[in-house]
Symmetry: C2
Subunit: 561 residues, 2 copies
Amino acid sequence: MKYIIVGAVAGGASTAARLRRLDENAEIVIFEKGAYISYANCGLPYYIGDIIQDRNKLFVQTAANFNKRFNVDVRIMTEVININPSKKTITARNQQTGEIFDEGYDKLVLAPGAEPVRPPLPGIGLEGIFTLRNVTDTDFIKSYVQKYASGKAVVIGAGFIGLEMAENLQHSGLNVSIIEMGKQVLAPIDFPLAALVQQHIRSKGVDLRLNTSVNGFKKEDSGIKVLLSNGEELYTNIVILSIGVKPDTKLAANAGLKLGPAKGILVNEYLQTSDPDIYAVGDAIEFLNPITGLSSNTYLAGPANKQGRICANNLVMGNVQQYNGSINTAIVKVFDMTVATAGVPVKQLKNNNIEYIASTTHSGSHAGYFPGATQMSIQLAFAPKSGRLLSAQVAGYNGVDKRMDILASVIQRGGSIYELTELEHAYAPPFSSAKDPVNIAGFVAENILQEQMNVVYWDEFKEKATDAFILDVRTHKEFEAGSIEGATNIPLDELRSRLEELPKGKAIYIYCQVGLRGYLAYRILKQKGFVDIYNLSGGYKLWNACAAEHQINAPKIKAFV
Amino acid sequence: MKYIIVGAVAGGASTAARLRRLDENAEIVIFEKGAYISYANCGLPYYIGDIIQDRNKLFVQTAANFNKRFNVDVRIMTEVININPSKKTITARNQQTGEIFDEGYDKLVLAPGAEPVRPPLPGIGLEGIFTLRNVTDTDFIKSYVQKYASGKAVVIGAGFIGLEMAENLQHSGLNVSIIEMGKQVLAPIDFPLAALVQQHIRSKGVDLRLNTSVNGFKKEDSGIKVLLSNGEELYTNIVILSIGVKPDTKLAANAGLKLGPAKGILVNEYLQTSDPDIYAVGDAIEFLNPITGLSSNTYLAGPANKQGRICANNLVMGNVQQYNGSINTAIVKVFDMTVATAGVPVKQLKNNNIEYIASTTHSGSHAGYFPGATQMSIQLAFAPKSGRLLSAQVAGYNGVDKRMDILASVIQRGGSIYELTELEHAYAPPFSSAKDPVNIAGFVAENILQEQMNVVYWDEFKEKATDAFILDVRTHKEFEAGSIEGATNIPLDELRSRLEELPKGKAIYIYCQVGLRGYLAYRILKQKGFVDIYNLSGGYKLWNACAAEHQINAPKIKAFV
């Protein structure tokens, strides 16, 4: 059996290694158009930022070592330029010699990845404007960064890579601006948690500009002028374009393989394309999202690696293992913060008319009495009847990755928020609290589902509470440091004795700092005969971040508060 | 409705708070024989070690604040000395005034906790010999530690608390010995991972003595002589007794409530005792272990808190929520290491004749190319047919808690190792690798179950491999630095070309450093016609730690290697 694999980074290299473990006698050839295989794609920004100092560390495997270990014929600098499905051959070009040749296969695996979007803006071809896809790009960027070590950098696009690049460029000594067309950073994250991240980015001295696009670039002395949509011009030495990626489907499309609605290579549950002898894995494919049922792309290393393993199993043993799709679990370090997401963000649930309830809680990363605890925010979205967990997002400083992994595992299995209340986590003071943040998030969701509490979200609070009584149950000191306009302050511990100050027959909107005291106040009022009451989800902390960011982002729109 | 709760730490305080949220009009009285309520039990060793410097941080709630917030009548320094179930009253003694009084209840909740075992050894009553249960004990120990700040400490019992105390006493400047009767530290952890911890404890300069018990104590100048079973006498200034705890069941037993085979208060799935008006939660109860089905104790804060919530729900709404039992998820920081466990340890599976397969893997805490990655070891035990995960143990430096929580959630739901292979974790270089250590552990377990690999454990290797060919597939350099006696070194990358050096018709026992190269070698040999082959689970790393610790522990027994 002869296998040809196109692409030797995450999905391709995983497929090759597993193929060899399953079939010692197969012939395996892997073509890679770049100079390197199986490199640390996700580490590239950190090499540019000198966090990873040894360039050799970027290479998980070299072509020579991969060949020695797995007896795989690795052909780097060799681009597959055509597939001939009827003849079961590929045509390739050796980039060094220029030689063009055909090579036959029994089974072909496509793992071409995704390529950065590079819009046709005026001046896009100027020196100093980069996209980041591979080690070669990285080397160019790094030498440029070293040349302009105390200069200016503009990052266009505030997605995961954009923010990682911004942090690393600043770490290299550059003065960084981030230009983002959208109204928030990190499009897959919902606005409230993105607002917390934006505040953090600004606190680090980065010039973050939202609702701003780029019209073009002009050469200027030793640098570049970035022409912004608002008429401003931004002088810089280096530009990183990180506005997104798209599946690299040229080969597949030319070969007549079916593409899907998300413009990726369409595969079935066995990762088989429309040609039964051709499989595909990684960023280039699209697959059904297990929650929405919609065909969508996933640009993540974890799924690519797992697909490689499944693909090899199916190639050798004949479609024995189904791929179940990705829930798009992703995480990013943004300076001292970490933000993560899994499942379908609230904004997409809305767009897809999927019913949901959302809830945001804030908890300590570990026991408050043990040094080093920091606060994290967890947003859950769950189905109103079953409580099925549809998405989770976490933002904080320590322990965000842990909570995300647990939440992702529940989402992935179609589990509900009730599971979160029962999770028996490993508790000792350095690691968690007796009730883990995930338990707390589950308890609050359960309270909402079991109608122990009605919640109101930050973006509807102002409108809904217009003619209502707004009750701030924080301490006097907290209230004085900042509150929602029109609120009356009755600290929780005084509430039982001051119930007569509350209006009967009027809606009451309660809030505290993070949501817990608001809930306790809610329970008191509910049982004391008040009917129309609501607690602000995520409390003043979240409301304040959202309101502040909302104002900064849209200064020309009517002020939010 | 009037509720009386006995005990105001984890389970009792949780029950009271939840009761109030559910029923604003109930009368709730909570009796606590100690001076403090709802304190940070798990933080006490760290306050002694000055890691937690502010004593006030130990108090999650004070009696006065708890009363203000939850309108609960908190009676500290008041010991309940009798329950009269037929009259539905309790008898209590005010420890300050000596007053004895009766108080009636509609429903009673027992949360008396567990008490440290204090064996009747000669001299056990000497000054300077302590057990650690509450804040009062802590204050005594701390002042003693300050008095003998550069002196000697002996910790008797190398369980979770014992090791935490050893670390904190050393941190306070004392010279620490640990005396443990058993052949390993941390009885709930299986020997291989405990061996790694033991090596770490020794590397920190702690005098760790296993297989050693204490015959008694003698007063000596300003200190104590600890008389050891091996005839040695150990001079010390302070002794911490941490040989275990037992459920505090005096009250329950005197009231005629049923106790169980594990000597805890017996409760049904609603946490109700044999008297339907009396419920019980926390360390004092026993419950069916969801994996073994055997009634057993759990001394953990997490389950106690969750039981409190469930108990309150059942009290107010009438047995609406079942408690599903604890899988004994526990974690402990031991100097720079972290060790965690969930489910039924291998040794208990053996004792209970539950069929299992075990597998140990070692992986990096995050991507190896990103700074700060450390290695962790994961031991899984799973059912031979279904692959159901029966237990997991993790030892390492960073990220142990994260992997434990994920593994615990799978064990808790009765999930299998196949789930581990699919888990879509949050990956970016600072947090994990494209294949998380949990995925890797799952892959290896899957390989074993699907008969892609036979494994052999460290403790059977020597015996089984006696007449076999032992193949070390590590590099020459690794081999020279230490190997298993009788092994032949053929590095993996040379194996394909040196197959003729292997004997046909003889069993082959393969090992590498952690297990991965051994597996790759196994796959090559299997497909090249070798039949009787095995790979050493956990590799030389685990074997070496186990063999070394085995020798240190049992110097009088025939040498292991």
